[in-house]
């Protein structure tokens, strides 16, 4: 059961900006509603005005240009999953979309809604970090500003979005040619306990790591890249990936004890899945098939 609200459906960003400017935190931005409507039914969030962003021109588009894949905030997971453009530029993103929640959530849930809600156990942001994602925020007063997704997500349910801003799109930077990626998520609950994304570029002989990207999410307050390990892996022989180890202290990697498990367990799982993701990415980089089926794990 929902409490009454006024539904506004702007068609343009300036219209949206005006409504948002007027109502600020009494308004809630609404796209698929898969998270918001649940909180509203519980009575935890009671916006006076619901601003439907789905009709705003441009927010439902996917486009690739100048080495950037742009996914509009109102694009559904379902659309991402089926998008030839996403498949062409960030295949991992398209494949992972198939494993967001369930088919009904994917039908209505949007990329922007997911990122802006910043549920710590929602794993889209983790994967997107692998692509050096940046988000575009727009406000009537200030126009657009862009910031790294890593800075946008501040903590559980908290982002850098101001009351008068709307997330308009996320910009992903496809992996360099020849790089291979993998994404693993693990857990028995409805939402993942852990997500790990890895990408590797190998040297021409495919023996050593030329570049590495790693992101971990869901275990702590916010997803993050593992910059230290990324640097440390450069030049490492492929066989050494099996022994890769995250220096959690140096990386500032933290974990929260919650219903999904204890912090120490989650940190250890981060180690396990970093190794697994690296191994899978390396195998893909070497055009090898390996068995990446693990219990309670989605591997894409």
């Amino acid at each position: 059961m929902l409490r009454p609200f006024e539904l506004r459906r702007p068609a343009t960003l300036p219209e949206l900006g005006a409504i948002l400017g007027e109502h600020r935190d009494a308004a809630a931005l609404y796209a698929g509603g898969s998270e918001l409507l649940v909180l509203m039914k519980e009575g935890l969030v009671r916006p006076r005005v619901l601003i439907d962003v789905k009709r705003v021109a441009g927010l439902g588009e996917i486009a690739a240009a100048d080495g950037t894949l742009r996914i509009g905030a109102a694009v559904t997971h379902r659309t991402v999953e089926r998008s030839p453009v996403v498949h062409a530029h960030c295949p991992l993103v398209a494949e992972a979309a198939r494993f967001v929640a369930n088919v009904r959530v994917r039908s209505v849930g949007t990329v922007g809604g997911n990122l802006a809600f910043a549920d710590p156990h929602s794993d889209l942001a983790t994967l997107y970090l692998l692509f050096d994602a940046r988000v575009a925020l727009w406000s009537g007063a200030g126009g657009e500003r862009e910031l790294p997704l890593a800075d946008f997500v501040r903590g559980p349910y908290e982002t850098a979005r101001r009351d008068d801003e709307v997330l308009t799109e996320v910009r992903l930077h496809p992996l360099p040619p020849g790089a291979a990626g993998a994404y693993l998520k693990f857990g028995v609950h409805e939402r993942p306990t852990l997500g790990v994304a890895a990408a590797l570029s190998l040297d021409p002989a495919r023996r050593r790591v030329a570049a590495a990207r790693l992101a971990v999410g869901c275990i702590g307050a916010r997803p993050q890249r593992l910059a230290g390990l990324e640097r440390g892996l450069v030049g490492a022989p492929v066989e050494a990936l099996a022994a890769a180890r995250v220096d959690a202290g140096a990386e500032g990697l933290d974990a929260i004890t919650d219903l999904h498990g204890s912090a120490d367990y989650k940190l250890e799982m981060a180690q396990v899945f970093v190794r697994r993701a690296l191994r899978l990415a390396a195998a893909r980089g070497m055009r090898q098939d390996i068995d990446a089926r693990y219990a309670h794990t989605v591997a894409v």
Binding site: L2, P4, L7, V38, V103, S107, V108
Partner: protein, 165 residues
């Protein structure tokens, strides 16, 4: 406490199970309540109310949605299919037949959602594998059957002939 806005009515025109329905609903009405209470289509059920269990699954323009967490106004101008529109007793949909034949029905509270979820899958992919069926059913819970017979029933329809609606 901020003042509660007064409920604002919205006019809807939906095709429900192939029939055009015009009605006025409060803007905050959920599709599940409109279907159940206004249109007397009781097949979709409320259970978890959090988009996990799938008991409220209906198809909107062919896509499965959780009617419990879906504004009725979103269905305006769209095509909604509930289990009542899948097939009646005299003309069962192949999936309905298969569910009956395979014993995939026990208490029945998940059945409507299971059927519509399965239909959405078969409409998209005429011959899904068992693994694809299991993946697709992630959001449809059943506490009675243990799923084996549900998966078997869908598999029996997975071959191209089962998806004709």
């Amino acid at each position: 406490m901020p003042a509660t806005p007064t409920p604002s009515p919205s006019s809807l025109s939906i095709r429900v199970n192939g029939r055009r329905v015009d009605l006025e609903v409060p803007t905050h009405a959920l599709l599940l309540d409109v279907l159940r209470d206004r249109l007397d289509l009781k097949g979709a059920k409320r259970s978890c109310d959090m988009q996990v269990c799938g008991a409220c699954t209906v198809l909107v323009d062919g896509a499965p949605v959780s009617a419990c967490t879906y504004l009725a106004v979103e269905a305006d101008g769209r095509d909604v299919v509930t289990v009542e529109g899948l097939g009646g007793p005299e003309a069962l949909h192949p999936l309905q037949e298969a569910f009956v034949d395979h014993g995939a029905v026990q208490c029945g509270f998940c059945t409507s959602g299971m059927l519509l979820s399965a239909k959405a899958l078969l409409d998209e992919r005429a011959a899904p594998s068992e693994a694809e069926i299991v993946h697709h059913l992630r959001g449809n819970l059943c506490r009675c059957t243990g799923y084996r017979k549900i998966v078997d029933a869908i598999l029996a329809c997975a071959g191209g002939s089962g998806s004709a609606a």
